[in-house]
């Protein structure tokens, strides 16, 4: 039996965690970084890069790199046109079908792109276990989190991504609920909790009641299209409009369309995006900063603009305010007032923004919790849930709800609800059907998700075709269709004619998802690409190792300089040899030769051996961060 992990598959970053002797811990890379950027990049020769490496390539090869793919999971092209404008990669698809993402001459569905990220996380976890000396380090099962407000198609797409990555998805759980599990570990208290989760691309609010270790979600609401990405986009649009010359009034009206690429194309968008993200981060700590784009081929003149926290808050206020209505709705659905909330918990990177904290504090009339790193808390909770599932431990139990009502289309295009939103899952519902024509043997059923009255306003999930109804006079068959939402929040359907007891076969045609056959085909294709992927993996591993050696070396050098102890540490010429090896390694890092990276890493390790020994003796052992020491 392989290992089990919890995975937070995020819009911007993804993480993997596991439970080690009862405590959940996130898995870090050599340099201590827990975040794997949810970025995938394809080389001309088909090599696939994921994470930091792909992020590096966003600047060099923006049109061959994909990010924020979570926004496209389980969606149709009509849903995402607004997003596609400012993204450097190609987004296409037939009307009423799955979105396709074009990179070079290849096309991928969003689950395939997400599967690359999941494979990277799987690999990271396996490396972690292997280095711990585990004999059986394969990771074959995972709990993966999704926004609570994800619909059936989005959940199914996430599960498909897991399958494509070679993981058995034990459970899909909701991000805010996962976070509450991670918090619940420390405080075994009871009470009513509001989890406010504003991530890179999605917003969720969940209200939970915790008692006797049972985490019961009372209600959930959200917006699957609202997050840090949108904040970045507003700022990028502002810069683009400034650059277009209409800078006078701040954001020009035209920029709001979001469709106007700047003169430098995708590369320009990417450098601007990085600059505004940096400024956004700065403004969580300081009152004023500068959006600064250095002159480059993409943005020839460069760009600089001072921005205060007040400016920033004015720009993003409408976005932050959009989180309030879902919060109020969730409270109303739970039958609660803000004063009934005992604790508010912040989750997601965007909750670092002071304005967001203020808004949450005002709404729930109390200071929200953020003791656990808001980037890591979801993955930790996923690991806890994974552990519960495989260990059978019963101290904690999570009872989640389905965020959206499930219904079927009836006469006149009206939706008849079968399972209402905020029903605890697993949940089931039944509906009776009959035939309209003598000897009719089939019935078509349109399944929808959403709160609106008309089918046209709800999300189409699937068309079901019931077959094999025994021939009878019209109106006589009594076909019971049973809808079952499982603990993942995913729907399955069964039908039976009650007079004869005959089970009906049901063909399900998902509206915005992949059929099982498509997933199978993709699995086969992914094996065909496995070889190229394997090469890329080796290169990435070499680079990651190199990076950690560089990092450790530079840290010691800096420390030595600062302490003014360089003279006693270094032998004659040693410092020069180290600097040369450092420079050489950095140079080959930019290339794609694995051997070169490997050789130079080895060289750097060799010339730092003496330094490592003396610094160890000087009790700055920790400064060498473990791995380098082991290699020495």
């Amino acid at each position: 039996m392989g290992k089990v992990v919890g995975i937070d598959l995020g819009t911007t970053n993804s993480l993997v965690a596991y439970v080690d002797e009862g405590r959940p811990v996130v898995m870090r890379d050599e340099s201590g970084d827990a975040l794997v950027p949810s970025v995938v990049s394809l080389d001309e020769d088909g090599t696939i890069f994921v994470g930091r490496e792909a992020q590096r390539r966003l600047l060099a090869a923006p049109s061959r790199s994909v990010y924020s793919v979570k926004r496209f999971m389980g969606r149709g092209i009509d849903d995402v046109r607004g997003d596609a404008g400012l993204l450097p990669f190609r987004v296409s698809g037939e009307a009423g079908g799955v979105v396709r993402i074009g990179v070079g001459d290849r096309e991928f569905t969003p689950p395939e792109i997400s599967a690359f990220v999941l494979r990277e996380l799987k690999h990271r976890a396996e490396e972690h276990f292997r280095k711990q000396g585990e004999f059986d380090f394969e990771v074959d099962r995972a709990v993966i989190t999704v926004p609570a407000y994800f619909n059936d198609a989005q959940r199914t797409a996430t599960r498909d991504a897991g399958r494509l990555a070679g993981l058995e998805v034990l459970r899909i759980i909701n991000e805010p609920t996962a976070a509450s599990l991670a918090y619940g570990l420390d405080k075994r208290n009871r009470g009513t909790i509001a989890v406010y989760d504003l991530g890179g691309g999605t917003f969720d609010i969940s209200i939970l009641k915790v008692e006797d270790g049972v985490f019961q979600v009372l209600s959930t609401n959200g917006d699957t299209h609202l997050g840090g990405d949108d904040i970045d986009r507003l700022l990028v649009e502002m810069v683009i409009s400034d650059l277009a010359g209409s800078g006078a009034g701040g954001r020009g009206a035209g920029a709001a369309e979001g469709q106007m690429p700047p003169e430098g194309g995708p590369a320009a968008i990417e450098v601007i995006r990085r600059a505004v993200i940096q400024a956004k981060w700065d403004l969580s700590d300081v009152e004023e900063t500068e959006i600064r784009v250095e002159p480059s081929p993409a943005v020839r003149a460069g760009y600089r603009r001072r921005i205060t926290r007040a400016d920033f808050e004015r720009i993003i206020r409408p976005l932050v305010d959009r989180t309030l209505e879902p919060c109020r709705q969730a409270l109303a659905d739970a039958g609660l007032e803000p004063k009934d909330i005992d604790e508010a918990v912040l989750v997601g990177g965007s909750t670092r923004i002071p304005l967001v904290r203020r808004v949450v504090e005002e709404l729930f009339e109390r200071k929200p919790h953020s003791e656990i790193n808001p980037d890591e808390v979801v993955a930790l909770g996923a690991a806890v849930q994974a552990d519960i599932l495989v260990s059978g431990r019963r101290e904690m139990l999570l009872l989640d709800v389905t965020p959206l009502s499930l219904g079927i289309e009836t006469m006149g295009g009206v939706v008849s609800k079968i399972i209402v939103r905020n029903s605890t899952i697993p949940a089931s519902g039944r509906e009776m059907f009959t035939t309209g024509v003598d000897n009719q043997t089939g019935v078509d059923i349109h399944v929808l998700q959403g709160e609106r009255e008309l089918a046209a306003d709800c999300r189409s999930l699937a068309h079901l075709h019931l077959r094999g109804i025994p021939p009878m006079v019209a109106g006589l068959p009594r076909i019971e269709v049973r809808f079952q939402i499982d603990a993942n929040g995913i729907l399955s359907v069964a039908a039976r004619e009650l007079r004869t007891g005959i089970e009906q076969t049901i063909e399900v045609k998902p509206s915005y998802g992949l059929t099982d056959q498509e997933v199978e085909r993709m699995l086969i294709e992914s094996f065909e690409h496995a070889e190229a992927d394997f090469e890329a993996r080796l290169l990435i591993d070499a680079r990651n190792e190199a990076e950690s050696v560089i990092h450790a070396t530079e840290k010691v050098l800096r420390r030595a300089d600062l302490d003014g102890v360089a003279s006693e540490l270094f032998e004659p010429g040693e410092r020069e040899r180290i600097d040369a090896a450092l420079a050489g390694l950095k140079f080959v890092m930019a290339g794609t030769s694995r051997q070169a990276v490997h050789d130079w890493t080895h060289a750097l390790n060799n010339v730092t051996r003496h330094l490592a020994e003396v610094t160890m003796n000087r009790t700055v052992r920790e400064a060498l961060a473990g791995k380098n020491v082991k290699d020495v």
């Binding site: 034990l170 006797d212 059978g392 139990l397 605890t424 949940a427 089931s428 009776m432 079952q484």
Partner: protein, 252 residues
């Protein structure tokens, strides 16, 4: 026209699919081999939760039962079990969640009681046959109010189309709403009284109990009708907000 109701009454025993022993229908686990039992066609939320068929329920007690049973058969705890047990856990958990939701709310609690006592459904949107009955029939006790409201609504619609000030119309709608609200409150009270009466009739004659159930059903039908009226008023208010434009709802 209306097909016979689905047999909701439970069979008297269950058979354990693991060891073949017979188990009382309200057991969740086999008394013999202690494996989780398949749900079968359980039809009674009260007995499933170990409660008597009574309408006044202590919500804390209900919640505790719900939590305890969740801990017994949630799918989380059957991850490594045999497929039949996994299915049983899924079915029992779903059924538990449905039962808890139905019994938590006093109105759906009454609806469930009526169903298991064999009375026809009181839900107006009972779409089982798609024939949409009930909608047209005004409960006699509401005739007066319905009549007055419909007249008022017709007038308001006319005025709206001829461009009357929406604020004035909104005020008229509020006034039209008041007597309906009164009726609804009255119904809530009656529903409560009848619930208490039902609970005291445990050992009463069949006819007496039946009279209470019929009265409960009457109240529910009226209640549904009242809610429809309130919804109609809400829709009118909403279409006023559309600044004189007829509401966009051209689908179908």
């Amino acid at each position: 026209m209306t097909p016979d109701p689905i047999p909701l009454r439970s069979p008297s025993t269950l058979e354990c699919r693991n060891c073949g022993a017979g188990a009382p229908v309200d057991e969740h686990f086999c008394p013999q081999c202690s494996r989780i039992l398949a749900l079968g066609r359980h039809g009674d939320y009260f007995s499933f939760l170990g409660l008597p068929r009574k309408l006044v329920i202590d919500s804390n007690d209900l919640e505790r039962r719900f939590r305890d049973l969740s801990r017994k058969f949630h799918p989380d705890y059957f991850y490594n079990a045999a497929p039949t047990e996994r299915l049983a856990s899924l079915e029992r958990s779903s059924y538990l969640n449905d039962a808890y939701r139905a019994l938590k709310n006093p109105v759906s609690r009454v609806e469930h009681l009526l169903a298991i006592e064999g009375l026809p459904s009181a839900r107006s949107e009972d779409a089982s046959t798609g024939s949409g009955q009930a909608a047209g029939k005004v409960p006699p006790s509401l005739l007066e109010e319905v009549f007055a409201l419909n007249e008022e609504l017709d007038e308001i619609r006319e005025l709206r189309e001829s461009g009357e000030d929406p604020d004035k119309l909104r005020a008229r709608l509020e006034r039209a709403r008041a007597p309906i609200d009164v009726k609804r409150d009255e119904h809530e009270r009656q529903l409560q009284e009848l619930s208490v009466r039902w609970d005291s009739q445990e050992h009463a004659a069949v006819a007496e109990k039946r009279a209470t159930l019929d009265a409960l059903r009457e109240r529910l039908l009226e209640r549904n009708y009242i809610n429809n009226l309130l919804a109609t008023i809400e829709r009118e208010v909403a279409s006023l907000a559309g600044s004189g434009q007829p509401a966009a709802g051209s689908h179908g």
